[in-house]
């Protein structure tokens, strides 16, 4: 699946396209499919998000969204060395798939 990600304009926080807007939680990301380029162009024009781009991802057995590349997996949860600063997630196995 193709999901869309960028950074919030004001906070710089990592955000994920959830079908209507930009969520802080990777699990909210939806498959943009063939509409990825169109959504990106529209969102860049509205200037709600910084440098958004499309990435490959999959859904695991538990229904959680897993970005394909290590960089985006680190972006999804936060610095692996400061888990106290991580993005809150209901996914108990979250850190298991980052690296």
């Amino acid at each position: 699946m193709k999901i869309l990600t960028g950074n919030d304009l004001g906070s710089g926080a990592v955000t994920w396209w959830d079908g209507k807007g930009w969520s802080l939680f990777v699990d909210d990301a939806v498959d943009a499919g063939d509409e990825a380029d169109e959504i990106l162009a529209r969102e860049v024009a509205t200037r709600r998000v910084n440098v958004p781009y499309a990435i490959d991802a999959s859904i695991d057995a538990g229904g959680h969204v897993r970005p394909a590349h290590i960089k985006d997996r680190v972006r999804a949860l936060g610095p692996t060395v400061r888990r106290d600063l991580a993005v809150p997630t209901a996914d108990k196995t979250g850190w298991d798939w980052v690296i």
């Binding site: 004001g10 906070s11 710089g12 200037r47 290590i70 972006r75 936060g78 610095p79």
Partner: protein, 554 residues
């Protein structure tokens, strides 16, 4: 230390308000990211993996207690309670909001600090010896010259859009504690045979994807021609540097392609022309700056004061925890009865260079109590109290140790340089920090840190080499191998006066593998070393082969 005059303050204040307006227009959607990006970068505001990052300049790594407290306040007010001291003697905050950035810059301006020229293709923060003004072996304090260069290079209209970023280091001793020859321009202040003070110029060094050691360009530049010569070096680069290819745009590539002799010839030609134009600031300006760097009021050496051995004897002896810290973390001072004390930001298992706001405030207090309100940031991501009276050493150490800042590990395998890596940096391919944590834990646990002696291990998370891996006795470079982290090991680098570039051992390793590999190469060293040899000395004597054999087999 230097204090802003009305012009300095006015320029910095004006820049804050200019940026406030730019940030507001970006938030209102009146500027695109493409339009805004070069503006925010000129003010040290990057967009990293998780948030905006603000890089604050600490000129030649010198600051006072009030400035350190302001840095702590910014960490609490606008960030998440900590900052990261960098390999260019700066500090970075990882979680700044765009809305807050101008306020943070305004707070910095109140204590004569800024983030100008900490990014972009301009002359970056001038770096220097972290023991400047205190070291027993320096010819003079290099900081007045670094400050003169800072003033010359700040907002210099001709050098605002160079082909690429440009880094200058200034030292004033034979010992190189600033990686001087791995800079675009390296300057060593020295005394010639006639007893005159002047500047030796090196140009075209650097790390990154094409590491090079700067060749000597000029053996002696009279100090009243320092700026003119620097300007000539920059002019030739600005004119002929490769603007067509980002990866070939640094001055090291130009000098490599032209040859040092031809580059020097062109610089000399430009220099002769510029001498006739007269761009050198008046000597009075250097004297005005130098007046800010007069030594603090040291207690006279005629006043009876305990020497180091007496102090050690009175506090547990050489082999006590205090004794170990003194042996590893203090440096000889130019004034009797004093030393420079290194505050390690590398606790075992910690994040190299990170300091909490509370730790920053404590360090500020200790600077006031024990070091004439002076501090330095080291390119090795530690801090220095430059002027500590030996009589105060044990009290100081007790306070540091109680706060977790007393790690006795300067220049040991636990004193690892690590860039932020893939945990924070958008350029990185692999994580540096977890490796440094695990290696320091491994060697603290196996008890071999002391036995290994001086061993500089440096880790970068990408080819840009912010972690100085090319200059590590042991260097590690993180790369992306089909979407997973992989680590190349290299040996034999040095950033010091015996400068050299490390060589790759062979195929890379995964995280566990590279940690085991580090242990293996230290085994080879311990088995082969002769009396008094450091790891680097043994490597240079026996070469790469024994290490390769141990790592990869026949």
């Amino acid at each position: 230390m230097y204090q802003y005059d009305q012009y300095d303050q006015a320029m910095v204040d004006a820049r804050v308000e200019e940026f406030r307006d730019q940030a507001r227009r970006r938030m209102e959607g009146k500027l695109t990211e493409d339009q805004f990006k070069p503006l925010r970068l000129m003010n040290g505001l990057y967009l990293q993996l998780h948030a905006y990052m603000l890089r604050v300049a600490i000129p030649y790594g010198t600051l006072n207690g009030g400035q350190m407290e302001a840095l702590a306040d910014i960490a609490d007010k606008y960030d998440r309670g900590y900052g990261h001291f960098t390999t260019r003697q700066n500090i970075q905050y990882n979680w700044i909001k765009l809305d807050d950035a101008a306020d943070a810059l305004a707070d910095l301006a109140k204590v004569e600090m800024h983030a100008i020229q900490t990014s972009g293709n301009c002359i970056r923060n001038i770096s220097s010896d972290h023991f400047a003004g205190a070291a027993a072996d320096e010819v003079v304090d290099p900081r007045p010259y670094a400050e003169l260069l800072r003033q010359w290079s700040s907002f210099h209209p001709e050098f605002t859009y160079l082909p690429r970023k440009f880094k200058i280091a200034v030292i004033a001793s034979k010992k190189d504690r600033a990686a001087m020859r791995l800079h675009d321009i390296g300057i060593r202040i020295l005394k010639n045979d006639a007893g005159e003070i002047g500047a030796q110029f090196y140009a075209g060094g650097g790390m990154g994807r094409t590491p090079m050691i700067a060749p000597l360009i000029r053996d002696f530049v009279p100090l009243d021609q320092l700026i003119t010569y620097a300007e000539a070096c920059l002019r030739v680069y600005n004119r002929y540097g490769r603007r067509d290819n980002k990866y070939k745009a640094r001055i090291k590539i130009l000098i490599h392609e032209l040859g040092a002799a031809e580059y020097t010839r062109q610089v000399e030609e430009e220099f002769a022309h510029m001498l006739s134009v007269g761009v050198e600031p008046p000597r009075e300006e250097l004297a005005r700056i130098a007046a800010y760097f007069v030594p603090p009021p040291f207690v006279s050496s005629e006043v009876e004061t305990p020497d180091l051995s007496t102090t050690l004897e009175a506090n547990g002896g050489q082999n006590s925890p205090f004794g170990l810290w003194v042996r590893r973390n203090t440096h000889r001072h130019k004034h009797d009865g004093y030393v420079s004390a290194v505050i390690s930001l590398k606790p075992v298992g910690g994040i190299p260079g990170d300091a909490t706001s509370d730790q920053m405030r404590l360090v500020a207090k200790l600077a006031r109590d024990y070091s004439f309100d002076e501090l330095r940031v080291m390119h090795t991501q530690n801090l220095v109290l430059p002027h500590v009276r030996i009589a105060d050493l044990h009290t100081l150490w007790s306070e540091l140790d109680a706060a977790g800042l007393g790690a006795p590990n300067m220049d040991t395998i636990e004193d690892i340089i690590a860039c932020p890596g893939l945990d924070y940096c958008s350029l990185a391919n692999a994580r540096s920090i977890p490796l440094s944590q695990r290696i320091s834990e491994r060697f603290a646990a196996n008890g071999r840190t002391g036995e290994l002696g001086e061993l500089k291990l440096k880790i970068s998370g990408c080819i840009n080499a912010c972690g100085h891996h090319h200059a590590g006795h042991i260097g590690i470079l993180g790369v992306d191998k089909k979407g997973t982290e992989n680590f190349q090991l290299s040996l034999g680098g040095s950033e010091a006066e015996d400068v050299s570039l490390a060589k790759i051992t062979g195929p890379g390793f995964d995280e566990d593998g590279v940690i085991a590999a580090v242990e293996t190469v230290t085994d080879v060293y311990l088995g082969a070393r002769r009396d008094g040899e450091r790891f680097l000395d043994t490597y240079r004597r026996i070469g790469m082969e024994p290490f390769k054999e141990a790592l990869y087999g026949g």
